[in-house]
Each structure stands twice: as structure tokens, then as C-alpha cells.
């Protein structure tokens, strides 16, 4: 009895963790988009890994948490990300980054020092990574960075 209870809590912990990770992915899609998205669009962006219902559930949960806002879009809801605390967090983070806190405590940056200042090496490596991938990702998403520059 005790053992089965133990495995149950382990199970819910894994589930909770997994759903937390999915929430991050869905939220990221909304942040990367220029306009509010309906569930179908979010699911399309994420690919066939997630069922429509799963995406819908995650969006509802994010809305309940106040991480996204929604508006009517035809018969569905369109979702957009919400700045929590009127951007207070963002300001604090920005201050942290600009202040230059010790790396050990916080800053483990994804992309750090770059060797070539012009990015030639990076571009070549990116091309190599594409060559060695069997099926490259859909082209729709690779146009995303150019949208940022506008």
C-alpha cells in the first residue's frame, strides 16, 4: 500500500513536470508570434507531437494562471501572452543583466562568447547542421528572425 502510494506521487510529479514543460513550449509559441493565436495555430506550430486537445487544455490552464489573455476569434479564442506584474519581472531581470551579477549564481547563458565577430563560422556551422539533418524543419518558421528586425 505504502509502496503504491509512493509510486503514485512519483507519477504525478513526473506528470506535473511534463505539463510544466509543455506550458513553456506553448507560451513560447505565443511569445514568438506577432498576433494572438487560436489553439489550432499553436498546435500547427508545435507539430504533430501534441494533440489539439492537449494544446487546448494547456492554453486554458495558462489562461487560468493569468499567463495569457484571450479574446474571441470567431467561434474560438485567440490567445496572447501577458506581461506579469506590468513588466516588473522584466525590469528586475534587465537590471540583473545590466548590473552584471556573478555568473556562478545566475547567468548561465545559452549563447555566450562568439569567436568570429562577423558570424561566418556560425553560418558555416549552421549549414553543416542542416546538411546532416535528414529532414529540415518547415520553412515557415525560419522566416521568423527576419520579422524581428522590422
Amino acid at each position: 500500500m505504502g509502496a503504491s502510494e509512493g509510486s503514485d506521487t512519483m507519477g504525478t510529479r513526473t506528470d506535473r513536470r511534463q505539463s510544466g514543460e509543455l506550458e513553456s513550449e506553448v507560451l513560447a509559441v505565443l511569445w514568438a508570434a506577432d498576433e494572438p493565436l487560436v489553439a489550432a495555430q499553436v498546435q500547427q506550430a508545435l507539430g504533430p507531437r501534441l494533440a489539439y486537445n492537449t494544446v487546448q487544455t494547456i492554453l486554458t490552464r495558462l489562461h487560468a494562471k493569468g499567463a495569457v489573455s484571450r479574446e474571441a476569434a470567431g467561434r474560438a479564442h485567440a490567445y496572447r501572452p501577458v506581461l506579469d506584474d506590468n513588466g516588473l519581472t522584466a525590469r528586475q531581470m534587465r537590471a540583473l543583466l545590466d548590473r552584471g551579477t556573478d555568473r556562478a549564481a545566475v547567468l548561465r547563458r545559452f549563447v555566450d562568447e562568439l569567436a568570429g565577430p562577423d558570424g561566418d563560422v556560425l553560418a558555416e556551422l549552421l549549414a553543416q547542421a542542416h546538411r546532416s539533418t535528414p529532414n529540415p524543419p518547415p520553412a515557415a518558421v525560419s522566416s521568423a528572425p527576419s520579422g524581428l528586425e522590422s
Binding site: 513560447a28 528586475q92 555568473r103 549564481a105 545566475v106 548561465r108 562568439l114 547542421a129
Partner: protein, 312 residues
């Protein structure tokens, strides 16, 4: 005592030289643990040796000898350590103490700062992802010092837009690897170790690089595609060139191999293999150092006991 007291010093010196070759030879996930552990032991052995050497001089101070109840002449007669060496060791020990104290205060202050920040984030939405609405391209892991939450992944909107959904999964997996592995504590340990043992000056930067590599490898495993992981890193790097992040590094960790390009190249190569023989050699070296240090300590104890008995 005559010779084995110097074994930890020699080991500390060798370790300083071996830091980078070891980092190259070991797979990153094992490498940073081994380097920090061995570095810590070698630093402890080095401080222990300094203490033993210094004590042979301190024990000869009349006031100390009277308090301890041993004979200074006997001690002088049998002392295997030359006075200049003992005085140098005492001075070095004083310097090391100051360095470690200073480093500890500085690091702990930084930890406290990020702890405060992580705590202020905890109630907001409860999610792991924190998005900064600005066009710069940045992402980092902010560890939480709270049992309920591992920490947060802080990303700019610019970074999210630069990557496609699959690449974002690499990014998230990379940052989660930092949080799950408590990588900040490992780097902190490396920094304090380097403060205690000046020979290990390269340790923090090397460990730092290995932590990034380890997180890259974990992310590549999580998405089951090394090329995808390499692509995410290259894409983020290119985007970061167009929207450079603010220069925000408290300490510059210069490690020429730690560039993003080197990490991408490593991901495009086959996964790193472990070297059992190398690990065995390391374990034996560590055992030798520990035995020598203990033996030297026992010898010194015997010397002082002799000085106590002869006195009476």
C-alpha cells in the same frame, strides 16, 4: 614527513597543469564532476600541507610551546622542515585564508541576490518560463533556492523568435539541464577551490565550459537529435550577433575553447566517450595524495608527542 608532506603540493601543481587535458579527455557530464571533486581534494591537501609546514614553525614560538606543553629544543632538533619553508608556508596559508574568505563573501552575495530575484519570481504564474519582452537575444537559467521549484528559464522574446519550436525545445532542455544538475553550485565550488589553490587558476573557466557542454549534451539527448541541438545553438548565436546582449558579465571567464562555435562543433561530432583507464589513474592519484597527507599529519603528531614526553 620529510617527503610525503610535499606530495599534496606536487599533486596540486600537477592538477593545475592537468585541468585542461582532463577537460578534453573526459565526457563533459562526467568531466565537470571529476574536475571539481579532484580539484577540491587537491586544494584540501594543499591547505593541509601548508598547515603542517606552518605548524612546525608556530610550535616553536615559546608562548605556544608553553601552552601546548612541549619542549622547543627537542622540536628544533628533530624538526624535518627548514625554517624558511615553514615561514613561507605560514605566509601562504594567511594569503589563502584571505583569498578564500574574500571569494566566499563575493560569491555568497551574488547567490543571495539571485535567490532574492528567484523568490520574487516564484508566485508569478508559477511556470518555469519567464519571458522578457525585448528584442535582444538572451536566455539563461536562474536557479531557485527553494525546494518546491528548481528555478526559472529566463528568455527574451527576441530569442524565442529567433528559434523554431524544435530549436526552442533544445534551448529549454539546455537550461533545464543547468537547473536540474544544480550547475551553479558546481561552478561555485570550482571558484572557491581556485581561491584556495592558486595552481587551479584555470579550473573555474574550464568547469564553466564543461557545464555548458554537459547541458548541450543533455539537451541533444532530450530531443534525440545532435544536429538539431547544434542548429539551435548556431541559430541563437547568429541572432545574437544582430541583437547583441548587454555586456553583463561580473567576471570575465576567458576560456578560448568556450565559444559557442566550439560547442556547435562538438555537437556535430559523435558523442564523447568515457575513458575508464583515465578515471582509474585519477582515483589512484587521489588515494596516494590522501594517504601521503594523512601520513605526514601522523608524523608531525608523533614529533610533537616526542617533544612533550622529553620535556617532562
Amino acid at each position: 614527513m620529510r617527503l610525503d608532506v610535499y606530495v599534496p603540493v606536487l599533486a596540486a601543481l600537477l592538477m593545475g597543469v592537468a585541468v585542461r587535458p582532463l577537460a578534453r579527455l573526459l565526457p563533459p557530464g562526467i568531466g565537470f564532476r571529476v574536475l571539481v571533486a579532484v580539484g577540491l581534494i587537491s586544494a584540501a591537501g594543499w591547505v593541509w600541507t601548508l598547515g603542517l609546514l606552518a605548524w612546525t614553525a608556530v610550535g616553536q614560538i615559546p608562548l605556544v610551546a608553553r601552552y601546548g606543553g612541549w619542549s622547543v629544543p627537542v622540536l628544533q632538533a628533530d624538526n624535518p622542515v627548514a625554517a624558511p619553508i615553514a615561514y613561507t608556508a605560514a605566509a601562504a596559508l594567511a594569503v589563502v585564508t584571505v583569498l578564500v574568505a574574500r571569494a566566499s563573501i563575493r560569491r555568497l552575495r551574488a547567490v543571495a541576490h539571485s535567490w532574492k530575484l528567484a523568490r520574487s519570481l516564484a508566485p508569478a504564474g508559477g511556470g518555469e518560463l519567464v519571458v522578457l519582452p525585448d528584442p535582444t537575444v538572451e536566455a539563461f537559467a536562474l536557479p531557485s533556492f527553494d525546494r518546491r521549484c528548481r528555478g526559472h528559464i529566463v528568455v527574451t522574446a527576441g530569442m524565442l523568435r529567433a528559434l523554431d519550436p524544435a530549436e526552442r525545445r533544445v534551448l529549454f532542455a539546455h537550461e533545464r539541464a543547468h537547473l536540474d544538475g544544480a550547475h551553479h553550485w558546481w561552478l561555485l565550488a570550482a571558484q572557491l577551490t581556485a581561491a584556495a589553490n592558486p595552481f587551479l587558476v584555470r579550473l573555474p573557466a574550464t568547469v564553466d565550459h564543461l557545464l555548458e557542454r554537459a547541458a548541450d549534451e543533455t539537451a541533444a539527448t532530450a530531443v534525440t537529435d545532435r544536429c538539431l541541438a547544434a542548429r539551435a545553438l548556431a541559430r541563437a548565436g547568429l541572432a545574437a550577433l544582430h541583437h547583441p546582449p548587454a555586456p553583463a558579465r561580473g567576471i570575465a571567464l576567458a576560456y578560448t575553447g568556450s565559444t559557442t562555435e566550439a560547442r556547435i562543433t562538438a555537437l556535430l561530432a559523435p558523442p564523447p566517450q568515457s575513458h575508464r583507464a583515465l578515471l582509474a589513474i585519477l582515483v589512484m592519484t587521489v588515494a596516494l595524495v590522501v594517504v601521503s597527507a594523512a601520513d605526514a599529519g601522523r608524523d608531525l603528531e608523533t614529533l610533537f608527542e616526542l617533544a612533550m614526553h622529553t620535556r617532562g
